[in-house]
Symmetry: D4
């Protein structure tokens, strides 16, 4: 544990016992101060308290060593773990210490959920994608939302080149509390979905395409310029971000 924080915590606990600050006050102060310094990273343990979800590791630009050490640090205080854009090799190494770990080959997500996680999942989130090639990003969104205790309805490969495939799922669209629509190429799916739905839609552009697709920029621009209100957007290929927001929105509906 980082030293300076340690001293402040000691002082806080002294205050708690000596000067009668309340348990709620104590918890609040701790939640503002806590992180762990492991040299190349400062693991944000208190994010789980603050935002209901521990720090998520973006695996793509880290060494295997860094990813594993950060993961181990998180798992000291959390029974949930999500590493996105991670390769199977990293999973195999981590699994030795954490046998309940899962890996999804399509989305390249390593994840861990508590044993009773599936007992209490909530309906309401629909995740769609336009083409077969968009599935990895859609699955990343599914896993992320699933980790926030949701049961996902998946509707894949319903791009606008065959509008009847999409319209076949009108019922699911109308019953959703929040929809994630994932699309590369021209990215028209989220706008069309938004125009026939009654709930918020989150568009996820993917880098699928070629030429003037510009690795997802065309798809992103389509979504940002949609005439159909109700649609907001996240970064290209950011399935995790969309799944997380959908989880926040769906969580609201029980309050």
């Amino acid at each position: 544990m980082e030293n300076e924080i340690g001293k402040i915590l000691d002082k806080l606990l002294d205050d708690f016992q000596d000067k009668g600050i309340s348990r709620k006050e104590l918890t609040k102060k701790i939640s503002e101060l806590y992180f762990e310094d492991i040299g190349f990273a400062k693991v944000d343990h208190h994010r789980k308290l603050r935002r209901g979800f521990p720090e998520v590791i973006f695996g793509a630009n880290k060494t295997k060593h860094q990813t594993i050490e950060i993961a181990k640090s998180i798992l000291k205080y959390s029974n949930k773990l999500l590493i996105t854009k991670a390769d199977r090799d990293c999973y195999i190494d981590l699994k030795k210490d954490f046998p309940r770990l899962n890996y999804d080959d399509l989305s390249q997500c390593i994840y861990l959920v508590p044993e009773d996680h599936d007992n209490n999942l909530k309906d309401g989130i629909v995740i769609m994608c336009a083409g077969t090639s968009d599935i990895p990003i859609a699955e990343e969104a599914c896993i992320s939302a699933y980790m926030m205790e949701n049961n996902i309805k998946k509707i894949f490969d319903v791009g606008v080149a065959g509008l009847h495939r999409l319209l076949n799922f009108k019922k699911e669209i109308l019953e959703a509390k929040v929809i994630i629509a994932v699309a590369g190429m021209e990215g028209a799916l989220p706008g069309i979905v938004s125009s026939i739905s009654t709930c918020p839609v989150i568009g996820v552009p993917t880098s699928i395409g070629y030429g003037t697709g510009f690795k997802g920029v065309s798809s992103l621009l389509t979504m940002l310029n949609s005439c159909s209100p109700g649609l907001s957007v996240v970064n290209i290929d950011n399935g995790f971000g969309a799944g997380y927001i959908a989880g926040l929105i769906n969580r609201q509906s029980t309050i």
Copy 2:
């Protein structure tokens, strides 16, 4: 009324009376078919049924004549009206026929709400902006969310150059059900807000800035690339879109 639709409606009503289709079935079929053709526009009357909000007029690229005729058409079937990016001149003309119409000079919105609109507003939406120059877009978001029956908490001019101004409103941020954060220049506000909040945040980049601000592109990119999950984004200067989405999300929390 458009002819082909007219015939179908006649047939539907015959069916209703003769073959006993239910009132619910009738309404559903009508809601799928209905719009009004006024020559230069096909007014989407059934959008109000479908999405809980009538068609909104984007005033910026239309002639005054076009805007007024579309507005009159909408008001035949709706007691709500919203025209964004509209000039005062257009408002003055419309007000002759609709004396209860309002105009907001900052955001250039013309709007009309039912007489009892304010009796039943819902709390939960916080709308923030980074600088004084971002207020017009923030106000457009406020009016849009207000029209969806929300009572807005406004926190303006709390950009990150003076972090203490923002942190002063931590309580409001933590109590919100959904937050809209409007920012031009470097657009860092929504990411910071998202990192200290527990609800979904909608970022609205504005075209405020100069040089490499590129009329809002820099701000948009900052929001799309935020490391802080929970943030989704709409088009530059799209206050209406953000207000509408916030309305959809906040509506969920009562269901």
Copy 3:
């Protein structure tokens, strides 16, 4: 007439009379050589022979004087004239000399057709646009295709935010020989139209929109990346180009 060309023509006529080259050969050679030099412009008279349509004047970057002189030069050898992006002032001046001239305020087109032009128009071209603000470009396409002796079916304001408005015209879409679909904002209309039609579709992005619309670039990219085959694209706001191509395609269907 330009001198060097004049000498060649003299020689060609000598050959025609003396050495017995055929009338067809003579016409072909003349059509390869002919243009008129009026100082600041070389008017391409033989384009009408070569391509079935005289040179069209793009009014936007020319002085009124230049536009009028080029127009007069064209009308020496042609009973058709089209000036796009031209202001009313220029029209009024030209009309003094050519009283049968027309002006379309929406598209800012000055045009002249032969007296019997309307006797022989051909069906098959459908021109659609997504929003009221796209009408000026759609009308430019209509006038251009009309000048190539076509009778246009217009379907305006059928953007994808209200999909039922578009699907209402499925019959017209299926019967078309060639469709022009004009759209700004996210530009999704042409791709959707293409996916439900059986003929070639020409997409025309417009500069209508704001923020990341980037004056039509977003719309253009959407069309170029459409997953729905059968769609080709012209420059932003190039209604004339689309109308001209539609005319070329529709002309094929009689051969």
Copy 4:
């Protein structure tokens, strides 16, 4: 077969037998509803009915397994197949089940045509390219148009750096019903071809070039800005799209 569609089909057939809906009505309804769900894809079987060509597989972003399964699904209901941007490995696997399959190394297309396909090809399509390096995309266009029952005239390596090479083919250009012009680098070929032809020209920019070629963007812009009317454009390297449109246009000339 997907369940919900199955039930609707049962009901349709009952209606056909019991309530006397016509065979034409039955076929139309089926063609609006039908696709096959194979998990990671919803194969659009009825596209062949709707658009005269089955769903085409874009091989570049799919796993070999996905490509092969989609191909097999298409071939259950179709005697035509086209997979673009596919590697030879995928071809070899598929050929085991479909021995009449072909592979074109240059364009990386896997394709299958009916046995009697070559008996009934139609003339009228000319496909040109500017340089030797553009041939792969030109060949993709050739195969695509050939699959739509056309006999293609190929004119390759006629870029504008040696104008006499192009002008040597003036006769073929003037006799064409529709021309595809493929070009990378500065992309001037389609505009020049359009200026000397009388039929519609489809420009295909390629990603061939270096430096400010920007992987085809320079070529695309040249084509979009061509002063020569009659030219429309498809995405960079989209040989298939151009071949398909040429097929649609050439099909018109027989109606």
Copy 5:
């Protein structure tokens, strides 16, 4: 005169008289040091010695006062003056003091040449432009090259949409020592000219065009990517730069 320079000049002259440095040495040293400081500008008088042409004033971003004061300073030591992108108002004021001054309305150039300037002009430079709208930039190039004592052959409005207009001037093209080709829109002219000429060609993109012309960027890219060697390029709308380079090249041919 600027003080520090003044002192150095005093010292140089002392050296010349006392220590016997040669007149040539003296001149060389002076030419390396000399400029005049008029507060908001340091007029580079010795540029005329160094480069054969005095400093040229780019009028577009200067106040009228600044432009006039710099012009007056130049004319103290030079009998030549060129101000580009200058308005007529500035010309009228300057003409009061310098009655032999000229103004060209099309190119917005103010210029002055010595009285005997026209006695000794040199042939060899051809300046072409693609369209009527490109003439202002072509004229700026003409005046710039003329001021470097050249007699210009102008060939305007010969864009590639009417290739026969260009080919009609093959003789002039083949006889040129250096060619300037000015073009907006798709900018194909310089590449075509280069492919049929035997001398260096300088391409000048203009900002003429619309939509994806991007104010000259499309034209510039076309020229940079031309497959036809022999073509180099200057900035968009930089007629002066092209004229100056043509002057430098043509000057070589007499040495």
Copy 6:
């Protein structure tokens, strides 16, 4: 004064008197909390304590009313004021209340310094610009650095097209503690200056230029890519930012 802050201040003062927190501790806490809410702005009064300079008003996107009210609020607690990009009209209104106010027409800065400001200026900052058109931005930098109690050495119009003009000031360059180099067009000046100096150089790209200057982007890129280490960069036209940084650096040299 804003209420919540007020209460906290009351409590702080009680603590100061009752529990013996030191005056230094008190000041530090106050400086973290303080701002004034004037409705459309939250004026950051404590920035002067925190950063040695009060909040600076960017006048360009504000109404005159907003600018004046924010200015008045700042002047309640500060004897310094800087408004950049402000028009003369705003200055005239403010001057009625603050007669010692100054306005600089070139840079459009309104500014106020304490009466004894000039008694204690520090040498060390050199501000250079490449051309006459860059002077407004250079002057904005001068005023900003002057307000931070510096005496500026100005060297204007020394762009690299006349290298001798620049080299003439080698002594001033070598003696500087920090240099600001302002340049539009190709922006080469800061890199050249950096290569011959021994102190940090701050490059300010300006929007001066045309065509591919892209309103300062070309100049910015040149500076960012300079091979000459020692150069850092601010936003296009951000003279204030550069002046402020130079002030911070020069202030270091006395500590």
Copy 7:
């Protein structure tokens, strides 16, 4: 030989013998018609007659087979050959048939010159580069200009970060007839060279750099926006193009 051309040649020779057209006329007509069709390429043999240099092969996007066949075709009628961006493997294969072939590892050029090529080289061309990493492109320019019978003066690694290195070569710069200046990174070298020289300068941006160098775009923009007249530019990494233009300019000085 291509058939249609063959027939025309037969006819031309008949005319030569029968109708007395002159040998010069015959040669001119042949030079307009001639190229060789080798299937995937139409080799432009008459380019050597027309432009003084045979067709140059851009090796980067061609298969080894294509490159070798085109090379062999060129060498049937030419004693010069240049292949740029070619790998050593291709060189080794070609060398078996053409033992006098050369390969330059740095620039990846394969080239062949006549045996007496070095007897008659002309001085006047100086080729400079800014950094060691720019040498490959500078060498490509050297070989290209050398093949046009020039003796090149090379001055490498004289970038502006050490201005004294450049100024040391002032004599060579002032004596040059034409200079090529090659630079990546910020690309300031050509502008500085131009400002101290009296001849035309050709700038070659290279793709050397990182980050905002954008693979040569920053360098290109610097050159296009140079305030120093006399500089024109070619595509990024286009050493060949620059060498060819320098050859054309230097050839002028003997006429």
Copy 8:
């Protein structure tokens, strides 16, 4: 040693002995003239005199041979060496000749410092980075500043997604003389740091991120547009440049 320089040096030394020029004058003249020509590079030896640091080798675009020869040349006259972006292989070869050489695997820097280098390091520089993936660039900055005789305080992984991690280091931030803040993704860290610090801050965008991060462009734009004055920026991934500038600034504070 390069010949021409050699002769000038001989002459200078003669002058020193014969005509009595001072030792200071001699040193100054030598420092303006000296570099070593090793064929593919002109090593700028006198940079160490001029700027207090020898030439730094950017290893990324050089061959191993080139890098090693330049390094050896520098080490003839310097006891310091820095090679950035260099691979370990190059280090191993160089270490044979220079056993005291160091290599940092994270930043890929080869470096050498004098034996007594650590005896005299200066405090004042703080280097921070936002995420673990930004460490390589932050370490490059650390080594560069360390070589300029500074003792660096490192604060890594304190990105704004966990604001409390950053605020924990407020003391270090307030005590710094100059701060380097390194960040990829949305790049908000430097602006936030600047807003709470009192010294100059240098922002270093990194290419870490995905999608619309555009390899560092998003991060760069955020920093350039920061509302918080006091922040200047260097090229993407230019850790060396930032370290060098920080060294220049920190050196000022002792004068």
